[in-house]
Amino acid sequence: MKHITLSALATACASLVLACATLSSAQAAELRVLTHSSFGVPKPLLKQFETDTGVKLVISKAGDAGEMLNKLILTKASPIADVVYGIDNSLASKALGADVLDAYTGPAASRPSAVALPGLVPVDYGYVTVNYDKAWFAKSKLALPKTLDDLAQAPYAKLLVVQNPATSSPGYAFMLSTIGAMGEEKAFDWWGRMRANGVKVAKGWSEAYYTEFSRNGGKYPLVVSYASSPAAEIFYSKEKLSEPPTGSLSLPGGVFRQVEGVALVKGGKERAAAEKFVEFMRSPAVQQQMQTEMWMFPVEAGVARADVMKFAPEPTQFDSPEGKDIAEKGAGWVARWTKVVLK
């Protein structure tokens, strides 16, 4: 016993020394990058950036994009990062309103891009929409829904799982698309009918996709996910599939185009390095590689689509309220949604 206690004490001292060493080494020039948890740029590219620029990257993943922005707003007085990636068009107005971002006007900001994101430098974009389980629909002989109204009808009762907009970015995006398409009153009327029709609410994307979606053992054959999810299903399939087991339904009024961007953090240090990082996110190599890491489309013109992305057709129609409205009424909409669908 005695030497167990002794060794425990010794380890405690050692870890203390380790912690101190970590702290003192933090004095070197570092660029603090804040991202959401889905951030995925291949390690070799990050290493390359460090050698090319002489900047050490300290990347912090701060949870879901909404959670990340709130952490940024909360620590406004003493920012926890110098540059932030992952704020999208559903959050941009809130970020700008809270005054936590600084404008960047370098080459990447003025170069043409596939999509725009006012106040930030756009990096990638994708679509939040309803996905379906092909096997389930083949077996049940039920026709695929064609409109959002279909989903509120009896044949589609208890088939759809959505994410709670209060705790999930795709859930929030999907709610915004319905409001953008139908207007607030009609949208919440639809949500009320969806509740009566047995819509299932999950906390976040993982819970919805991996525990509720019938493709993964749940009982709901329709799930809110990304238009690129079928492509990812092919990419991460065990036996090489020639056709995705899931498909995306681009129901009118049920598609949200999500544009993610990068921005300088107001009050951040290492301004020059932060600007280099903005350019880095728009470099062809990153734009190419992140397609199969984050499953988003590149915004930079002339960057080739990854091969597997041919299984991710782009919806032609999408809806969203005005950015100003999202900033002003977003929280109110979430509260109303909670009341209509959950309470």
Binding site: M1, K2, I4, T5, A8, L9, T11, A12, A14, S15, A19, C20, T22, L23, R32, L34, S37, S38, F39, V58, I59, S60, K61, G63, D64, G66, E67, N70, K71, I73, L74, T75, S78, I80, N164, A166, T167, K200, V201, K203, S206, E207, Y209, Y210, T211, S214, N216, G217, G218, K219, S225, A232, E233, Y236, S237, K238, W295, V334, L342, K343
Partner: protein, 546 residues
């Protein structure tokens, strides 16, 4: 040099030794827990902060009082609060009713594989929430085994959460009860029997009172876990059966409504604090010195006894092992190319991180835990304070730390401290219980022979409480290995642990990701089990020597 007055030095040492146990844990709790939570609450109360409730902003002072009762005026929040209390109380009841007979069988009978059963019991405790939920759903979900056997589909009902709660917490009660039943005085039990007590009456009048403090402590822990836990409630309870902690998390992390969240957190703290305080008071009153003459375990002989043993193992397998077996079974069918994930650079890095963070956290937790337990002998308040890490909402602490120490949020020191914060109550509780059981005369004897308090503790008390210390450390290590505390702060990709890696895989679509998560979950189970075995293993031999 010889003139250096060493008695004075020992006096100084003695005084330091007297204050150290109070000071170190108190400072740690203040810096890591109370200050961050208070800081966040103050932010929530600050006028002009747009997350604050409107009425609070308008009229200042008095609105404070009314907004304190706001959760009770809102039917939705009242429902959440009531459900949180109900599911915690129900879980405690089920755990006690199911766990006590199981523990009695495990404590009184010797059979092949008994030790293994006791150790395997720890596994549910260390599995990450989402993975455990996958296991539970594989068993009782829409396509689960239960449904295939003709049973009801429990998804979307409160029973799923209750089962999940029992799955996670039964081991806490069974282990505590088994441990304490092993310390019941054989002489008293024999006396009761020879005076004509039936075994049932002897259990009721002799054994139960003797193990009551341990049962209380375990039930208290179960209650706190269920009441303030939110991961499990989110996944298994869904949106309909979420707990108050889910509400706090949503309000802070996603809606930035710090004012409303603070009010809710205060109510949760009031409830859990009351439970913790009651427990501390009861435990101190019930504390009885440890008996040296423990009841020997016997081999089951009669058919009834055999039936009890077999039944016990069967129930444990059904409640605690089945979801884990489901995970292992699914992982085993994942195929070789998925298992190749084990040689990924990311996996190896995560494995190393898990080991290194857990080891550091365990070291810190052990020191803190022992010091706190020693200090808690003197004060009921300190005894209650052991539960603070369970009482204060982790979400409030996590965001408070960000606010209070923005420049530290990226440091490994804070990360390890956070792990230690969640792990050390296990050490402190186990050691405190053992110290209660120590006759004061041992330490007094050492003192009268000239040992200072520090030396008396080191040479007399510590060796005697070693088994309890090991048990506490094993629980702490298992918690640290499966812990997901990092998510509340900022996690750096190079610090990814096995748990974070599992969540990462589950954050992307595709069958290969799902299978990789299951395979990694198996590795995690194996690792925490190994840690548990390594720490607790020698304690049995030691007790046999005693």
């Amino acid at each position: 040099m010889a003139l250096f007055s060493w008695p004075a030095a020992t006096r100084l040492g003695a005084r330091a030794a007297a204050y150290l146990p109070v000071l170190v844990p108190a400072v740690f709790l203040l810096v890591m827990l109370l200050a961050p939570a208070l800081r966040l609450m103050l932010q929530g109360m600050a006028p002009g902060w747009f997350g604050a409730p409107v009425d609070l902003e308008a009229s200042g002072g008095l609105a404070w009082v009314t907004s304190l009762f706001a959760p009770w005026q809102d039917a939705y929040l009242r429902g959440r609060m009531a459900w949180s209390l109900t599911q915690a109380a129900l879980t405690c009841m089920i755990c006690l009713l199911v766990g006590l007979p199981l523990a009695w069988v495990l404590a009184r009978f010797e059979f092949a594989g008994r030790t293994l059963v006791l150790r395997l019991l720890m596994l549910p405790f260390v599995v990450p929430t989402l993975v455990a939920a996958l296991g539970v759903l594989a068993l009782m979900g829409p396509r689960g085994l239960l449904v295939q056997l003709g049973g009801p589909d429990l998804q979307g009902t409160p029973w799923l959460l209750l089962y999940g709660n029992v799955f996670f917490n039964l081991c806490v009660l069974v282990r505590a009860a088994t441990e304490s039943l092993g310390q019941v005085s054989a002489a008293r039990l024999a006396a009761a029997r020879s005076l004509g007590c039936t075994p049932w009456r002897a259990f009721w009048r002799v054994e139960l009172p003797a193990i009551a403090p341990w049962l209380m402590s375990a039930l208290c822990l179960v209650f706190l876990y269920c009441f303030s836990g939110f991961g499990l409630a989110l996944v298994l309870g869904g949106q309909d059966y979420g707990t108050v902690e889910v509400e706090i998390y949503t309000l802070v992390a996603h809606e930035l409504q710090l004012g409303s969240a603070s009010v809710l957190a205060l109510w949760v703290m009031a409830f859990t604090g009351l439970v913790a305080w009651t427990y501390a008071a009861v435990e101190r009153r019930l504390a009885t010195p440890l008996r040296a003459d423990t009841v020997p375990r016997q081999s089951p002989r009669t058919p009834l006894q055999w039936a009890a043993v077999i039944g016990c193992v069967a129930v444990l397998a059904l409640v605690c092992a089945a979801p884990l077996v489901a995970i292992v079974w699914r992982a085993a069918h994942a195929g070789a190319q998925v298992w190749a994930v084990l040689s990924d650079e990311a996996t190896l890095q995560a494995l190393w991180n898990t080991c290194r963070f857990s080891a550091s956290a365990l070291a810190v937790a052990t020191v803190l835990g022992v010091l706190h337990a020693v200090a808690a002998r003197r004060s009921l308040w300190l005894r209650t304070a052991v539960f603070l890490p369970f009482v204060v909402s982790p979400v409030m602490v996590g965001f408070g730390l960000l606010l209070l120490y923005p420049s530290w949020t990226n440091s490994a020191g804070l990360l390890v401290a956070a792990y230690a914060l969640l792990a050390y109550p296990f050490v402190a509780k186990a050691v405190a219980s053992a110290l209660d059981g120590l006759p004061a005369s041992y330490a007094d004897a050492a003192r009268s022979l000239g040992a200072n308090p520090w030396r008396a503790f080191w040479r007399v008390s510590l060796p005697l409480i070693a088994p309890a210390l090991r048990r506490g450390m094993a629980f702490a290590a298992a918690t640290a290995v499966g812990e997901f505390a990092v998510s509340l702060f900022l996690s750096r990709p190079e610090w990814a642990t096995l748990t974070t890696l599992i969540y990462q895989h589950l954050g992307r679509p595709g069958a290969a990701n799902m299978d990789a998560a299951l395979v990694l979950a198996c590795v995690l189970m194996l690792l925490s089990f190994a840690a548990f075995m390594l720490i607790e293993w020698p304690s049995r031999e030691e007790r046999r020597d005693a």
